[in-house]
């Protein structure tokens, strides 16, 4: 079973993301929902997920810091990280992609946008 970590301090946002993933065919998945980057990092180290979706703007550890930690970790550096943010624009997207993000998606998310972003993942 695939394992997906969703990091967002908003329960509403996590529910929305999860609902979109289920709609595009990722129903039979082990979902791990966490509220910030530090929890996401701990969950990823505990058991390597197939993909990590994270918000940018979170307390304790934000999404950009989480991305840097993941990409600097020998154990986690190959983990695909998708950023889902309300504070994204082309400049921010370019910056995050340079840091190693697989995709950057702007809120509000929708199933078609999620489908496009996860096409490679779904094909595999």
């Amino acid at each position: 079973m695939k394992r997906i970590i969703i990091a967002d301090d908003s329960a509403t946002a996590r529910m929305f993301i999860r609902r979109c993933l289920e709609i595009i065919g990722l129903g039979e998945v082990e979902y791990v929902e966490v509220e910030h980057g530090k929890e996401a990092l701990a969950a990823a180290k505990e058991k390597l997920p197939d993909i990590l979706l994270t918000d940018l703007n979170m307390p304790v550890m934000d999404g950009e810091t989480l991305l840097k930690w993941v990409k600097a970790s020998p154990k986690l550096c190959e983990l695909p990280v998708i950023i889902i943010t309300s504070a994204g624009n082309p400049a921010k997207e370019a910056h995050l992609l340079k840091l190693g993000a697989r995709q950057v998606i702007n809120k509000p998310v929708s199933p078609p946008v999620m489908m496009k972003a996860l096409q490679d993942f779904l094909d595999n």
């Binding site: 329960a11 921010k92 809120k107």
Partner: protein, 161 residues
Amino acid sequence: MIKHKPLYQAMQQAVSQTLENMAFTEVLTHFDPDYAIPEAELAWTSLLITDPVQGEIRLAMSKSLLEKLTATIYTLEPEEISPAQSKDILNELLNTIAGLFMTALLEDDQTYAIGLPQIGEGPLPEPEENAIVWKLMTADEDPLQLVAVGTSLVSLNESAQ
């Protein structure tokens, strides 16, 4: 208080996109520009814009609208809704609206930073002199209101023109 077009349109578009996408709810300009949500019926949250301009955006709506939106988004009956869910939805709506609003206002090569939303208590603060206020409502005539304050945030209106 002033009402400028670019800033005004950017916010209306951000609110429409957010509510239509998240709650299948259409947003219109309120037919009464002087309408104020009674304090007993008021739910509001605010968020700071920290970079490259400084300001604050507030989102206020009637508690009944917040209840409707929460029920729609979570697919729950009104009696099943918890206060925590309503507050989280109010915050997430503002978070999403603020992001779309700033993206629409700034150049593509300009990054920006916004803070975390914080639920407000008591009455909505009186808007400052140069504040921009959006009086909106849903198709069911449930009121919502947005306020942008902060000199440098509001001045984006001039650079956008």
